[in-house]
């Protein structure tokens, strides 16, 4: 559960690098790189949420708000004011961080259901603001004309280029997060999850750590939002609704929240479900998500990452 082995990481890197080349060989799946971009963007959010839920044991059903804050900050500052997109990304992340502190400080003192409801309410309030502040956000019709990204003249204007951009970011964040988990900070988080009284008695400042992880997850969600905005060049509030926050929950539950790999696995599977496999069954979409979440909660509480352990258990018997 803890020693994050080096081999899987190397394989992961390899897979990311060759994936676009592989799918180029199969015409039927040539839109898969595009879908993987979304999977990567969602992974950024789920990595942070996985740390928050699986390691620190907190819950948030309002993270779509931070995703939206990143997206709209980038969109407004680049489309309306022409500022440098990378700087705007950073501004968005800072804004999300500040909001996360303001909302997190009182919320994370709450436990369980109270915390869930507080994050839920926060998420909806931000969603309403996106819809209502039409002069800033364009309201329900959305905002278009968001520029793409370029680095010193190298334009990320093809699917493949953007794919590599997103997944390099995901990889970097993944490594960073793994480092945190394996450090004293990670230990403190797991201690908080295991026993708050004992963690406190051993000197862990529980509120500080909870807020820290919450801010980290908010900053990552914001980064994801900015990348999303610059990819589609258009955003509208419906992307950042309650159902998206719940989809994030499903990704983490499906992948497995106690293991950082679960965040990526869950994000990839649900993204493909969303954009590719369920596309033809739109009326079933919501039912399928609900069923997945329920079945995973009852039968696979550790998510897909926990399956090898279950199989090992069968062999032992």
């Amino acid at each position: 559960m803890l020693r994050i082995a080096k081999l899987p990481i190397a394989l992961f890197a390899l897979f990311i690098i060759v994936f676009p080349w592989i799918i180029r060989q199969i015409p039927a799946v040539d839109n898969y790189a595009d879908i993987m971009i979304f999977a990567g963007i969602y992974s950024l959010i789920t990595i942070g949420l996985s740390l928050l839920m699986g390691y620190a044991g907190q819950i948030s059903i309002g993270h779509a708000a931070f995703y939206g804050i990143g997206a709209y900050t980038s969109a407004i500052l680049t489309a309306h004011y022409g500022l440098n997109p990378w700087m705007c990304m950073f501004i968005g992340m800072t804004t999300s961080g500040v909001v996360a502190v303001l909302v997190g400080a009182p919320s994370l003192k709450l436990k369980g259901h109270y915390l869930a409801m507080a994050t839920l309410a926060f998420g909806i309030i931000v969603y309403i603001i996106f819809n209502e502040e039409t002069s800033w956000t364009g309201g329900p019709d959305g905002m278009s004309g968001i520029p793409g990204l370029n680095l010193f003249g190298f334009y990320f204007d093809s699917v493949e280029r953007y794919y590599y951009l997103v997944w390099i970011v995901v990889f970097a964040v993944f490594i960073f997060t793994v480092n945190v988990i394996q450090s004293g900070t990670g230990r403190a988080l797991r201690a908080i999850h295991a026993s708050e009284p004992a963690a406190s008695a051993m000197g862990v400042d529980i509120s500080r750590f909870k807020i820290l992880v919450f801010v980290y997850s908010a900053v990552l969600a914001s980064l994801a939002g900015s990348l999303y905005a610059h990819y589609l060049n258009f955003i509208n509030p419906s992307t950042f609704d309650l159902f998206f926050s719940i989809k994030l929950l499903i990704m983490i539950a499906l992948g497995g929240m106690h293991n950082i790999w679960g965040a990526i696995i869950g994000a990839v599977i649900i993204t493909f479900l969303n954009y590719e496999w369920l596309h033809y069954f739109e009326e079933f979409e919501v039912i399928v998500y609900g069923a997945i979440l329920l079945l995973v909660t009852i039968f696979l509480p550790k998510g897909l990452v926990g399956v090898p352990e279950i199989i090992k258990g069968w062999f032992r018997e």
Binding site: G184, G186, A199, M202, Y216
Partner: protein, 258 residues
Amino acid sequence: MNAVGEDNILEIKRLVMTFGGLMALSNLSFQVKRGTIKAVIGPNGAGKTTLFNVITGSFSPTEGSVKFNGSPIEHLKAHKIAGLGISRTFQTVELFGNMTVLENVMLGCHTRIRPSFLISGFRLPQALKQEVRIRENAMKILKFIGLADKFNAPAENLPLGEQKILEIGRALASDPELICLDEPAAGLNETETYVASSLIRAINAKGITILLVEHDMKVIMNISHEIVVLNYGQKIAEGPPEKIQNNPRVIEAYLGSG
């Protein structure tokens, strides 16, 4: 044995703790001399664990003061008190079940390090060096308490006796001046109890003061320098073991009307 200080490492003055209508601690006062082992005993419900919870910062007392090395700590949060040099174990073992034996002890070092999110994330050399130091320190403690060979085992897989020892080891890791042990021998058989008492004596021999709640009278009589007896949240007797043994009020509290 190291020089037993004449000064008081811990001073409890007129401590009162009420929950709703219930008065768990009532006008309680006593001191703990540096370097000694002081036991707190009393029938069930006498307020012993409440006393621990107040000292270690889980609750603030309704009235009264707790002074550690002369400074008042009664309104400080638990994690701050841990940082000042007070450590504890719990009546029902509160290990970190999601970690190994070694990691539990490593967490005990938390107050001695300054874990930084960014520094660990970027894997800067200072973070790595710190981890190595913590790991070495934790292994040393595991050797001291006799669990070194199980360092990689999941903490929750240990038998109860070893879990209790591990919890004491974890409490040692922060290099405390005072350790509060809440029923270290509860649920242990005779061998395990013997191991636990020897360990407590060995810890005290290093100069660490011990405040101990226990029901096992043999353990109490064997290792404590002083005993304070509680009943219904009040102090009914205090003194060295021989005096307490023969104190009629104590005998009555345990056997009698309660």
